[in-house]
Symmetry: C2
Subunit: 265 residues, 2 copies
């Protein structure tokens, strides 16, 4: 048996989230089905964390133990040939037997993509969020800056309680606005349920003048969800990458640079 | 009654081509339905030409005669609010009563988009063609150069005969290759049936070494379709713009610059 880790991209609109559930095709199950049809026996795939229905991934990390004479490169080819459309195994390597994509993760980076064209774009509705209003990026950056560092993000969560509490450390927030599109990039040691979507929705509401740019700071102090904006829809959200203490995938070729497919950030 | 012309973008994968046909939703019918629900009476929309099922448009031009007190800007807003998802009216203006989008067109420009990543991209399969092979852009450019000018393009058509003959003038061919994507741009006084898709498929076959770069010149001389490559799939094809003797849409705001949505050429 060897431990194999994957870097996986997927179109979340084609799956019922990452996690396996009876009667609905999840990304985890899609990879497990491909492995089973390849190896003739069931395998269990572990991911770095769940993503909800409609949420995409550019570099989700997953792993599984298998017993196969196939080389890493051949295994990647075979998996991509067997897997349903909407999932791509970008990189694959045999790793330390103890590696676990969830428990070993140090931080995660998410991307939220929004178009601000005056009229609804005809293309790729499932891959981006659309707001028919120009946005004030300076106000949004001001609000975003207050999120950096260790805070109690209770107000930024859709679930009332978590076992680990609601203190998290945001390491990095960036807003890239160009013409009629903007990308929000957030990196944190961990995210509460719907945290990125609430951050994105709040910043958009700040950008269009519905909320003032101090609202995020107030919500951090008060813990009050009511201070914040909408929960932005899943369509714009991408798990961008997962960081580990040791660099991963150094040996294998990088696959496509940047963002796969048509998405350009 | 006034004559109104439109600049329209659409996702061709959501429609059965441009032209109205019983029992299948076409782009033409989608616009006519929006007009009818808006004005309460039927209207007929004329386009600059047909596009096949699965073929997209960034700036298709169309026109219709209507009797409405709505200003151009309000009419555009109302149409976009009434139209099904997948079509966007980017610009709209009242024009000369005699303007006809098809008969007045001087030339058309098409775009063919291809990704050449090693593995199938998980996103937007209906919006781009994918070839899992690197391409030799120099060889493709050599083949493409032989198409420029007035030639008999008989070999580059899927239909055996046309009323107008098979001589056309290609004014412009450009191949933009960057990393793992390439865009082919072709402008001509007119196109035969499937002509751009045969050009794209042939250039891709040249790029991957299946055909030599003189094949296009030989096919122009011989008229033999067998000299050429595959007919590339509709998914990668976009009607980019239509030219007229007089400039159109100078008065109205431009709408989104460049290519709408996620597509970056």
């Amino acid at each position: 048996m060897r431990n194999v880790r994957l870097e996986v991209s997927y179109d979340g609109s084609r799956f019922f989230g990452w996690q396996r559930q009876d009667g609905f095709l999840s990304v985890q199950e899609a990879i497990e089905q491909a492995l089973t049809s390849l190896l003739g026996e069931p395998a269990t795939v572990h991911g770095s964390g769940r993503t909800d229905t409609g949420v995409h991934a550019l570099r989700q990390v997953a792993s599984f133990h298998i017993d196969t004479p196939l080389s890493d490169d051949r295994l990647r080819h075979a998996l991509n040939a067997h897997i349903v459309h909407g999932v791509t195994i970008r990189r694959l390597e045999t790793c330390d037997d103890n590696f676990h994509p969830r428990f070993d993760a140090v931080s995660k980076r998410y991307l939220y993509l929004t178009l601000t064209t005056r009229f609804r774009p005809p293309f790729a509705r499932e891959l981006v969020h659309w707001v028919n209003h120009p946005l004030d990026y300076a106000a949004m950056r001001h609000a975003a800056d207050s999120l950096i560092g260790e805070h109690d993000f209770k107000a930024f969560s859709s679930s009332s309680s978590t076992a680990r509490g609601t203190v998290r450390t945001i390491r990095h927030v960036r807003i890239v606005g160009r013409r009629e599109r903007f990308a929000l990039i957030v990196e944190s040691s961990g995210f509460l349920y719907n945290m990125v979507r609430i951050i994105a929705g709040t910043l958009i509401d700040v950008g269009r003048g519905r909320l003032d740019s101090e609202c995020a700071a107030r919500a951090l102090a008060s813990g009050d969800r009511e201070e914040l904006g909408m929960t932005a829809p899943a369509s714009g959200l991408y798990l961008l990458r997962v960081r580990y203490p040791e660099p991963c995938f150094c040996g294998s070729d990088r696959g496509p640079r940047g963002v796969p497919g048509l998405l350009q950030v």
